[in-house]
Symmetry: C2
Subunit: 368 residues, 2 copies
């Protein structure tokens, strides 16, 4: 290795934003305590909620801070799914994140009717296939693994016709495109994917009743009991605000760089994955004859941080459930490669990474 490392796993975890790093220590008081130290912490928590609400253009009373995106997704899906009337189904798609699929499968075990619908060859969810007995529909803002932007508006319109609730899994995507919260009933956000380093956020229409997962104090509008992480909440809100302000310019800057990596992957034998409409920072492909994990380790040794899909499933050696859902074969689903650019990725970094990709994937091509 002669050059500095290049981090191309923004979708796995975004580097902490400078706006977040500059925040400093939050007040140590308990926001539920009425004394001055408690009120100081409460004021920061309130400010965080207002900042997040502004960044999302919704009312602050719909926002509850959580520990991470997985918790927000679970509170939304389990919380609304457990209150569905009998005969109404929870609907999602086979290429959604494992937190969504895990929560939906859990509801199925509890006796709730569910439908996990197929996606097309680019992992795109279709509104037309939503069954008429849908009661809760969960769709991602963009696919976590291949970056395909989902037709959220179409799905929300169809769900409204069926009088079904809509949960938007916005854990992946808000760094690059705006989540249309006005069209949905529930939405979940992941702090570390926004550049906050930690934390999560749940949006739920204020009038919506959710079955809580945790019991205790009345924190977070009684939607999430337990001592609030004031610093984490402020970090999430600050990151959401920074993303709102920066996402258009950052997308414009990232798109040509991601495009050049995408072309390189294809020229080196990769089968492109992901839809024509996708997040600007994604370059993805599937390779036969090589496992994604092996590619990652070789790239890592050569100074490039990459991913073979979801970090939450890393190390499992299982094939990618997303690529399988897209109709790829088992050999391809084991050879998934995801390179995702961040806000700070430079043309020079992409050039460096391209050299590593040529070396590592060149060897694979030669072996094939």
């Amino acid at each position: 290795m002669t050059s500095a490392r290049v981090y191309l796993d923004d979708a796995g975890s975004a580097p902490v934003l400078p706006e977040v790093a500059a925040l400093g220590e939050p007040p140590a008081g308990n926001p539920s305590s009425p004394h001055a130290e408690g009120r100081r912490a409460r004021a920061v928590l309130d400010r965080a909620r207002d900042l997040a609400a502004g960044a999302l253009a919704i009312d602050a009373s719909g926002l509850s801070f959580t520990a991470n995106g997985t918790e927000a997704v679970n509170v939304a899906i389990l919380g609304a799914g457990r209150r569905l009337p009998r005969g109404r189904r929870v609907v999602t798609w086979a290429a959604e994140h494992q937190a969504v699929l895990g929560a939906v499968r859990r509801l199925e075990l509890e006796g709730v009717a569910v439908a996990v619908l197929p996606v097309d060859g680019s992992a795109r969810a279709g509104a037309a296939s939503i069954p008429a007995d849908a009661g809760l529909v969960s769709v991602g803002l963009a696919n976590n693994e291949v970056g395909t932007i989902q037709p959220v508006s179409e799905i929300a319109i169809r769900a409204r016709q069926l009088d079904a609730l809509v949960h938007l899994d916005a854990c992946q995507g808000p760094r690059w495109i705006a989540p249309p919260l006005e069209e949905v009933d529930l939405a979940s956000f992941s702090g570390h994917k926004l550049g906050a380093g930690r934390g999560g956020l749940l949006y739920a229409r204020p009038s919506l009743r959710l079955e809580p997962l945790l019991f205790g104090g009345p924190q977070e509008w009684a939607r999430r009991a337990g001592r609030e992480d004031v610093g984490g909440a402020l970090a999430v809100a600050t990151a959401l605000d920074a993303c709102r302000r920066q996402r258009a310019a950052r997308s414009s800057a990232a798109a040509p760089l991601a495009g050049s990596i995408q072309r390189l992957l294809e020229s080196l034998g990769g089968r492109p994955t992901g839809g024509p409409a996708r997040l600007a920072n994604y370059a993805t492909a599937a390779f036969t004859m090589v496992r994604g994990e092996d590619l990652l380790l070789a790239l890592d040794l050569d100074g490039v941080a990459a991913s073979s899909g979801s970090a939450c499933a890393s190390g499992s050696l299982d094939p990618s459930h997303v690529l399988l859902a897209m109709g790829l074969g088992l050999d391809e689903a084991l050879g998934s490669l995801r390179l995702t650019l961040g806000y700070e990725t430079t043309a020079a970094g992409v050039e460096t990474a391209s050299g590593a990709l040529r070396r590592v994937l060149g060897k694979v091509a030669a072996r094939a």
Copy 2:
């Protein structure tokens, strides 16, 4: 106010320990990612788990980090309670924290048999009253509101005889006494009460199967899905380690100071609450003729941060469920006052606070 503020709400939220404040920023990588950035985060998380295990003298494979104490309590009680064989009861006591009581009541709603046992006049739980059909027994290390140390060993022995699991709610107490983890199957810890500022920790005997509350990735031995808060985990572990090393000396220093406040409260008309064996930093009393909230606000204006019980219930204006369980009347349960010293509380601070207590409680006594 002529003097600096005195913080006497250590039990509500402990100031962040200097050992924790010195930690600096954690690595930003995702511990589930196999690249170098991810491995760096994983190494810190592993180190945090080992440090916590050392501080608790147990095996690291029994430890899962959580967002806070309430989450740890809920994972323990709901996770074990939902797996109890039919006919076995979940047992706790009426003066336990609302996270424990909330989780137990939730199980009752789900059809699990529960028993919420009475406590004695000092909020002490008794082993003798545990029913023979107990399957899971939850007891606190010390009562959150009045500081009474619970007879955990006696309760654990009785539970063992009945083949029941034991959950130790160690959210309050580990700063001052050692939690006997070798005697229990499950234990929960609250980071902000330890001086970590945030985070929580669950201990579960490694062979014990728990029903998870969150679904998604296999993080934290599959006991708690979702992106780990690496910095929070290290903060909790560091605080646990600091408490282990300091608790004996800190207790010796706090006891005479807390004793002087306790005597003052009683001389000003307070009825003492809490057992003879209690945490060294507690001074508590119940007052008739005045609401605890009003006392707090008056003390706060006079520069002293105090509490009327659990911060998780603050603002509710409900009487203290702990004092009611101890047999006090409604008028007294509305007039609960809790002053808790911290590691940094000085004799001068206690002297200043005593002046404020004389002024505030003297007015109450004059009004009566």
